[in-house]
Amino acid sequence: MTSPSAVEANWPGVRLHVVTGKGGTGKSTVAAALALGLASRGQDVLLCEVEARQGIAQLFDVPPLPYEERRIVQGPQGSGDVYALAIDLESALLEYLAMYYRLGRAGKALDKFGVIDFATTIAPGVRDVLLTGKVYEAVNRNRRHKGAREYGAVVLDAPPTGRISQFLNVNNELAGLAKVGPIRHQADAVMGLLRSALSRVHLVTVLEDMPVQETIDGIAELRGLQLPIGGVVTNLTHPVELDGEERDLVLGRGLDADVLRADLQTAGVRPTQPLVAGLLEEAREHAERRQLEDEQHKRISDLDVPTYELPRLAGGVDVGGLYELAADLRRQGMA
């Protein structure tokens, strides 16, 4: 395997990469590809998910992940490994309690009394503090923690753009609720990390009006919360078959059907009426779609943040496809 050309990584000091995006834009895929790309630079990477969807297991085609850091990809010599962790709320809460309070019996009692249900249902801020708290712990590990694995970077497959500010802004969620106490303390610590130079929030979009609008709104919101923005990844891009001039021709006076017929004949294809009409129609639709995408593309470049692009893989995303996307991200310097 040849290594991708030596592009300098854009985010050298960043330890926590938060990846968000509107539903359907492929944020989980991008998060996984980013984790692979970062590991290829020679560091161990932890890929976390928090939405109990087992998306990582599906992407990497491995059995469902427990609440436990599992190695899912072992890199070749010189590169790191990728570990995965599916964070679920109940386990995070119990672990948190065990860590700070040495609860043996009480932990079980909490479960019995429905306290965990209670926390999931009524205390949204508390839930997010616990989920982000686990990520915080993984990022902040160092040699002092005996036996714990240290990661060069942590990639968080976060909730979608519509909920990301709320999810990351754990501090505010708790304001007015927990004014003191350890969970408040934890919220402050998490917020400190998220706002620091060690963290970046990356946004995944596709070239359509609504996802791009959500990306723009999301960036404004995150900036308002002083959460540092990373890059915008435009996912699922199509190959460009017609250049600008050709598209203008297609959308303007249209293509010459006679020339098309002659060309088809030359190429050994019988130019039936449905085929010619179909090709012209396909060309028009393609041109229209690309035109629209160009507009969205411009809105993204106007954002003044680093941008990256990943193609739509013709056969869908499988493990091999993930490696291709990881290489793309590395070539573009995101990883």
Binding site: K22, G23, G24, E51, A52, R53, L97, Y100, Y101, R105, A106, A109, L110, F113, G114, V115, D117, T121, I122, A123, P124, G125, P159, P160, G162, R163, E173, G176, L177, A178, K179, V180, G181, P182, I183, D209, M210, Q213, E241, L242, V259, L260, D263, T266, A267, G268, V269, P274, L275, V276, A277, G278, E282, A283, R284, H286, R289, L292, A314, G316
Partner: protein, 400 residues
């Protein structure tokens, strides 16, 4: 829900695929009074619901559509960019005897309304200003689902009382999991009946006293973790809300029954992608498990079958011939390159269509009883009534 579930469906695939979904018949059927569009995020649920509502209205139904989070320009063109939680007439509908009203859900306001309608003014004021209530009503991840269902219940009651509408079309929130909104009423009821809440309300009374030791352990731990202030807020919130519990539970139960009733039809919306179809499969199975009336599956954003009988392989070969030119004339210019590009587009589309068709056939094999409408992707955005009319037309045309 991460618990393992068994599959629900037939054991062998039927010989032919699923039946086409006849959207017009569904909308014309006067006994249909609620249509719920559900599915994972990013599959065009909002557009589908709006298009169905408009089509029904222009075919003479008196429709109200409840949307959750429409694209800004679509909301503007429907006259619902302002959040006031009340249905407004949509301008520009060519209604022959029908009408179309639309609204966008304001979840906090809906929640406030419920509290105000259920509690005395003083008590309502007390609840509305409780910090816990504020957090719960404006940001709790499940609140949107609860409130969408609550609003549906309200609209339905209004419709029955005033006769103002005879069809309600509901868009569902883009949930973390497609199942969230089905679980919402039960989760709310379950939560409010939870033992912990009961214990917070009635500590150490009657037989519960036996559990007091365990409870104080729990509350002590909680106040250590959350801080005593938070726990006090929760307690006063729960106490204030106590009188409403029965009401909440009843409403949740009623909405659930409304969803199961004969007049309701669920449409599962998906895109021809593995993830979206997986979610759709969950949904279809879950709906049949809960005996919710499923009308069919809408597959949006499908690529159009390329016209003319030219296979992917032959199109690519022809493109290569045109592009490569000949050895004497390697600089083939003129339209040859453009025609080659068209042929490659044709091949590309053929490949995508083949993949999408395979995905749909797999779905149909596992869920053969689900009538399906396939809606081709539009090459432009939908942000006005004309766009919605086109989508509605495509939805209906799929059964022909």
């Amino acid at each position: 829900m991460s618990t393992a579930r068994s599959r629900v469906g037939p054991l062998v695939a039927p010989l032919e695929g699923s039946a086409p979904l006849d959207v017009d018949a569904l909308l014309a059927d006067r006994s249909t009074d609620i249509v719920v569009c559900c599915g994972s995020g990013g599959v065009g649920k909002t557009t589908t619901s709006a298009a169905l509502a408009l089509r029904a209205a222009e075919q003479g139904r008196k429709v109200v559509v409840l949307t959750i989070d429409p694209a800004r320009r679509l909301a503007q063109s429907m006259g619902i960019e302002k959040l006031d939680n009340v249905p407004r007439p949509v301008p520009g509908v060519r209604a022959a005897g029908g009408s179309l009203d639309a609204m966008m859900l304001d979840m906090k306001r809906t929640f406030d309304d419920v509290v105000e309608s259920q509690a005395s003014p003083e008590k309502a004021a007390q609840i509305l200003s409780n910090p816990f209530y504020i957090a719960l009503s404006s940001s709790f991840a499940g609140t949107q689902e609860y409130m969408a269902m609550e609003k549906l219940g309200q609209l339905h009651a209004d419709a029955e009382a005033t006769g103002h509408w005879d069809l309600i079309v509901v868009d569902t929130p883009p949930s973390r999991s497609a199942l969230d909104f089905l679980d919402a009423p039960e989760r709310l009821a379950g939560f409010l009946d939870g033992r912990f809440i009961r214990l917070l309300l009635f500590p150490a009374k009657g037989p519960a006293r036996l559990m007091t030791a365990g409870l104080s352990l729990v509350t002590n731990t909680l106040s250590k973790v959350l801080g005593a202030q938070l726990l006090r807020d929760v307690q006063s919130f729960v106490a204030a809300l106590d009188t409403l519990f029965g009401g909440f539970r009843q409403r949740a139960q009623k909405t659930y029954e409304l969803l199961q009733a004969g007049g309701t039809s669920f449409l599962v919306v998906a895109a021809p992608e593995p993830d979206a179809l997986r979610e759709a499969a969950y949904f279809v199975e879950r709906l049949s498990e809960e005996r919710m009336p499923l009308a069919g599956l809408v597959v949006n954003r499908a690529h159009r079958e390329p016209q003319g009988r030219l296979s992917v392989e032959r199109a690519l070969v022809a493109a290569e011939r045109l592009e490569g030119g000949t050895d004497d004339d390697p600089e083939q210019t003129g339209s040859g390159g453009l025609t080659a590009a068209l042929l490659r587009l044709h091949a590309d589309q053929g490949r995508i269509v083949a993949r999408e068709t395979r995905l749909r056939e797999r779905f149909a094999a596992a869920h053969p009883d689900v009538p399906t409408a396939v809606v081709p992707a539009l090459s432009t955005d939908v942000h006005d009534l004309d766009g919605l009319r086109r989508v509605g037309h495509l939805l209906a045309a799929s059964s022909q």
